[in-house]
Assembly symmetry: C2
Homo-oligomer: 123 residues x 2
């Protein structure tokens, strides 16, 4: 139902973050800092970091939820919640194929965020 709307909002966010110049170059505007903070907040949990890493480093670049739940001592709904947070931050994208749902990392956003933090910059 709101799946499509979520995706659109996420993409709107990405536009602001992807084009962002590095932190050390010039002071961050209030708008950009809000968008960036949403991404960093999503990264600011050990479980979500491990989930993202498991997905990004998994063979084929994607992982099924059933591959992820086993790695944690957490209930199913909790994993699902963390995946939702990562999804709404634009860090991962999920696709249903039959019974299973596969997630993959959005490398563009990871690279953009890295660019914001990096001191020696390319642009």
């Amino acid at each position: 139902m709101s799946k499509q709307r979520d995706e659109e909002q996420v993409l709107a966010q990405l536009a602001g973050v992807v084009g962002c110049s590095p932190l050390v170059r010039e002071p961050l505007s209030a708008d950009r800092s809000g968008e960036l903070a949403r991404v960093f907040k999503a990264l600011g949990d050990p479980v979500r970091l491990r989930l993202l890493s498991l997905i990004a480093s998994h063979a084929g670049g994607e992982a099924c939820v059933c591959d992820l739940t086993g790695a944690f001592d957490l209930a199913g709904p909790t994993i699902s919640h963390h995946l939702k947070v990562l999804r709404e931050a634009g860090l991962i994208a999920g696709e249903r194929r039959g019974t299973w749902i596969y997630y993959r990392a959005r490398a563009e956003l990871l690279a953009s965020v890295a660019g914001v933090l990096d001191t020696a910059v390319e642009a």
Copy 2:
């Protein structure tokens, strides 16, 4: 009093984060994810992101607290709290010179965190 102890703990943290291999290379260990999450959590607030950006982009690479408070519609203690969070995450370091306290960004940590996120990696 605990100023010195804080610094030591921060440096101990950095050791784990600085040497960390990128997210997409291999699954993050539980330990590393905890250390990394602390840094990302510190970055996960708009005010702290702007503070860090103001400090890092300031002339001379450092900024006095009095230069920062004016940029926000927040009370002094709130700014001080956010600076403490950034300090305890190892993202900034403060030094008192006379009446004023100057903060500067820890570029090594910024670069390390960027390296963890980046997909195309140097090592």
